[in-house]
C-alpha cells in the first residue's frame, strides 16, 4: 500500500520508526488519530459526557426527572435545582441527564439503521449494476432532493399517527422515541449509500481484486477479505459524523414538537417550551440543553474529522 510512503514524506517523526518496524494498518490509523490533538479532545469530551450521563442516572432516579412540581415552576438555577426548572416545575438538571440518554440512544440507533441501509443499498447498486443500479440511484437522488427537514417532518407525521408508551426494563418511554429513530434512520442513509457504491465500483476494478480473482479466490473471500475491510474505514468515519447529524436532527424534530414527546425528556424537546418562556426571560431553559447539544456535536465532529484523516492513507495534513 502507498500509505507508508506518503507518511514518510509528511511526518518526519514517524520516519525512523516506520522503517524500523512495519506497522499494521490498524497501528498506523491509531498513530495518526493520536497525533490529531483536536480529535483526541473530541474523544475526551465524549468520554466525559458519557460518564456524566451514566453516573448521573445512577444517582438520580428517573422519577425525579419527570416529577411535576407546579409550585416551583420556572424557578431559576438554585442550590436545589442546579439548572432551574421548566414550566411545570420539573428539575432541568435531572432532565438533562435523562434527555441526554434519550438523545444519544436515538442518535446511535438511527445511525445504525442509516449505515445498514446505506451499505446495503450502495453495495447492491454497485454489485448488480444496470437497471437495479439506475433505479436505486434515482431513488437515492429523489430522497436527497427533498430538503432534509421537510422530509423529516413529512415522514414524522406519516409514522407518528398513533404513538403508544413502550415499557422496557421497567422504564416507560414514549413510543415517539422509536418513531424518531426510524424517521432519522430512513432519511439519512443517502450520502453513505452513494459513497459505498462509488467505493465498491472503484474497488471492483482494482488490480489486486483481479489478482485475487485470477488466483481463484471465491466471491465471498473477495467480498469479506478485500471489499469489506477497504470500505470499513469510510463507513466508520461517516457513521461517526452521521451520529452528530442524527443527534442534531433529533434536536430539530423534537424542538418542533414532532419528535420525542414529554414526559420523556430529550435535549430537543426541553427547548420546545424554552421558545415560549424565553420571552419572560427564562434563560436557563434555553442555555443548558443547548450547551449540552453543542458540546456533544462539537466533540463528535472533532473526533470524526480526526478519524477521517486517520483512515485516509493519503492524508498527512494537520500533523
Amino acid at each position: 500500500m502507498s500509505s507508508d510512503t506518503s507518511n514518510l514524506s509528511g511526518i518526519s517523526t514517524l520516519k525512523a520508526e516506520s522503517i524500523a518496524t512495519a506497522l499494521t494498518p490498524g497501528q498506523l490509523i491509531w498513530r495518526r488519530f493520536r497525533k490529531h490533538r483536536m480529535a483526541l479532545a473530541g474523544g475526551i469530551g465524549i468520554a466525559l459526557l458519557l460518564l456524566f450521563i451514566i453516573i448521573g442516572s445512577i444517582i438520580i432516579p428517573l422519577k425525579k426527572a419527570n416529577a411535576v412540581d407546579l409550585k416551583a415552576h420556572l424557578s431559576p438555577p438554585s442550590a436545589e435545582h442546579w439548572f432551574g426548572t421548566d414550566s411545570t416545575g420539573r428539575d432541568s438538571f435531572s432532565r438533562i441527564i435523562y434527555g441526554g440518554q434519550i438523545s444519544l440512544i436515538v442518535g446511535i440507533l438511527a445511525v445504525v439503521l442509516a449505515v445498514s441501509l446505506g451499505t446495503v443499498i450502495g453495495g447492491v447498486a454497485a454489485y448488480y449494476g444496470s437497471w437495479v443500479d439506475a433505479l436505486l440511484m434515482r431513488f437515492t437522488e429523489a430522497m436527497l432532493s427533498i430538503p432534509s427537514l421537510f422530509l423529516l417532518i413529512v415522514l414524522g407525521k406519516f409514522l407518528g399517527k398513533d404513538v403508544q408508551t413502550i415499557n422496557i426494563f421497567g422504564l416507560s418511554f414514549s413510543g415517539s422515541v422509536g418513531i424518531v429513530i426510524v424517521v432519522i434512520g430512513l432519511t439519512s442513509w443517502m450520502y453513505l449509500g452513494r459513497i459505498v457504491r462509488a467505493n465498491v465500483l472503484s474497488l471492483k476494478e482494482m488490480d489486486y481484486i483481479s489478482a485475487a480473482k485470477s488466483l481463484g479466490a471465491s466471491n465471498s473471500r473477495i467480498f469479506f477479505s478485500h471489499l469489506v475491510p477497504n470500505t470499513l474505514g469510510i463507513i466508520i468515519v461517516s457513521a461517526t459524523l452521521g451520529l452528530a447529524g442524527a443527534i442534531l436532527s433529533e434536536a430539530y424534530v423534537s424542538f418542533l414538537g414532532l419528535g420525542v414527546q414529554p414526559p420523556t425528556a430529550s435535549w430537543g424537546n426541553m427547548l420546545t417550551s424554552a421558545q415560549s418562556f424565553i420571552q419572560r426571560g427564562a434563560w436557563w431553559m434555553w442555555v443548558f440543553p443547548s450547551l449540552f447539544i453543542i458540546f456533544t456535536i462539537l466533540s463528535i465532529n472533532l473526533m470524526g474529522d480526526g478519524m477521517r484523516d486517520a483512515f485516509d492513507p493519503h492524508s498527512s495534513r494537520h500533523m
Binding site: 427533498i146 430538503p147 413529512v154 407525521k157 424542538f255
Partner: protein, 319 residues
C-alpha cells in the same frame, strides 16, 4: 455535451417522478383531511362522505395520484383544505418574503465567509486563523434555534428590560409592505442564518484556498517574482473559487424553501412556516405543493450547477 444534457434531463424526470410518488404517499396517508370535520356539529356523517366524494378522496390511491399529477403538470396544485385558497396563490404570496429573507442572508453570508475563509487560509495557523477556525467549528456544531433564541433573549428581551432600543421578535403584528418595519424585523432572523451558514462556508473556503496555495503553479508564480497580492488575486483565488461555485449553486434552490426553524421561531411569514403550519394540520395539497416546487428546483439546479462547472473549468469533459 448535448447527449449528456439529454441523458441528465431524462434521469431528472425519473427522479422527479419518484419524488412525487414518495411525497404523495407520505403526505396523503399521514393524516385524514376529513378529521377536522369529524367533531363538527354542522356536518353529518353523510355530509362528510359527500364532501369526501366531491374532493375525490374516496377513490383508489393510484387514481388520486394520477389526477393530482395531471393537474400539477399544468401548474394546478389544487386548493388548501383549510384556507380554501388555491395552493399556487398561497405559495406566490409567501415566496417574496422568503426570498427577501433568504437572499439577504445568503449574500451577507457569502461576503462574510469569503473574507473570513481567505484571511484564515492566507494567515494559516496564526492567532486570527485559530480564532476563526474555532468559531466556525463551534458554529458548525450548533443548532440554529440556539442562536435564534439567544438573539431574542439578548436583543429583544434583555434590551427591552434595560430600556434600550430593542429588536422585535416577530411575535408582534407588523406590515411587511412597510420597508422600515420589514428591515427591523429582518435583523435577528438574518443574523441567525448568517452566523450558522458562515461557519459552514468559511471552513470550506479556507480548505479550498489552502489546497490551491499548495499547488506547483502558485510556487512558480512566486518564484518568478510576482507580488504576493498578484499571486493571491490573479492566480490562487480564481481557482479556489471553482469548487465554491458548486456549493453555492447547489444551495440556491433551498433558498426557495425558506428556513423552516428560523421562520417559525421569528414568526416570519415565509415558505418554511407555510409548510410547517399546514403540515401540522395535515393539509396535504399545500404540503405537497411546497415539496414539489422546492424539490423540482433542487433537481434542476443540480443539472445547471454541473453544466456551469464545466463552463468555468475547462479541464472537465462531459462523457
Amino acid at each position: 455535451m448535448w447527449t449528456y444534457l439529454a441523458r441528465r434531463l431524462v434521469q431528472a424526470l425519473i427522479t422527479l417522478l419518484i419524488i412525487t410518488i414518495l411525497c404523495f404517499i407520505l403526505t396523503r396517508l399521514s393524516a385524514d383531511p376529513m378529521a377536522q370535520y369529524a367533531t363538527s356539529q354542522h356536518m353529518s356523517a353523510a355530509d362528510r362522505e359527500a364532501l369526501r366524494h366531491r374532493l375525490g378522496l374516496d377513490q383508489p390511491l393510484p387514481v388520486q395520484y394520477l389526477r393530482w399529477l395531471g393537474l400539477a403538470v399544468q401548474g394546478e396544485l389544487g386548493n388548501s383544505f383549510f384556507s380554501k385558497q388555491p395552493v399556487s396563490l398561497m405559495i406566490t404570496q409567501r415566496l417574496p418574503l422568503t426570498l427577501v429573507l433568504m437572499v439577504t442572508a445568503e449574500i451577507t453570508t457569502l461576503a462574510t465567509a469569503l473574507l473570513l475563509g481567505i484571511i484564515s487560509a492566507v494567515k494559516q495557523y496564526s492567532f486570527l486563523d485559530n480564532l476563526i477556525t474555532t468559531f466556525s467549528f463551534i458554529g458548525y456544531s450548533m443548532p440554529i434555534f440556539f442562536i435564534a433564541l439567544g438573539l431574542i433573549l439578548i436583543f429583544a428581551v434583555k434590551f427591552k428590560q434595560m430600556g434600550w432600543p430593542y429588536m422585535p421578535t416577530g411575535a408582534d403584528i407588523w406590515d411587511p409592505k412597510d420597508l422600515g418595519q420589514l428591515a427591523r424585523h429582518m435583523v435577528l432572523p438574518v443574523s441567525a442564518l448568517v452566523i450558522i451558514t458562515t461557519a459552514n462556508y468559511s471552513r470550506f473556503i479556507r480548505s479550498s484556498v489552502l489546497e490551491v496555495l499548495g499547488m506547483d503553479y502558485v510556487r512558480t508564480a512566486r518564484a518568478k517574482g510576482l507580488t504576493e497580492r498578484a499571486v493571491l488575486y490573479k492566480h490562487a483565488l480564481r481557482n479556489a473559487a471553482l469548487p465554491f461555485v458548486t456549493i453555492v449553486g447547489l444551495d440556491i434552490p433551498y433558498l426557495l424553501g425558506g428556513a423552516l426553524v428560523t421562520e417559525s421561531v421569528f414568526a416570519w411569514p415565509g415558505m418554511g412556516r407555510l409548510f410547517w403550519e399546514y403540515a401540522q394540520r395535515g393539509d396535504f395539497p399545500v404540503v405537497l405543493g411546497v415539496l414539489l416546487i422546492v424539490s423540482t428546483a433542487v433537481v434542476l439546479f443540480t443539472i445547471i450547477t454541473d453544466m456551469a462547472y464545466t463552463l468555468v473549468d475547462p479541464r472537465i469533459r462531459l462523457g
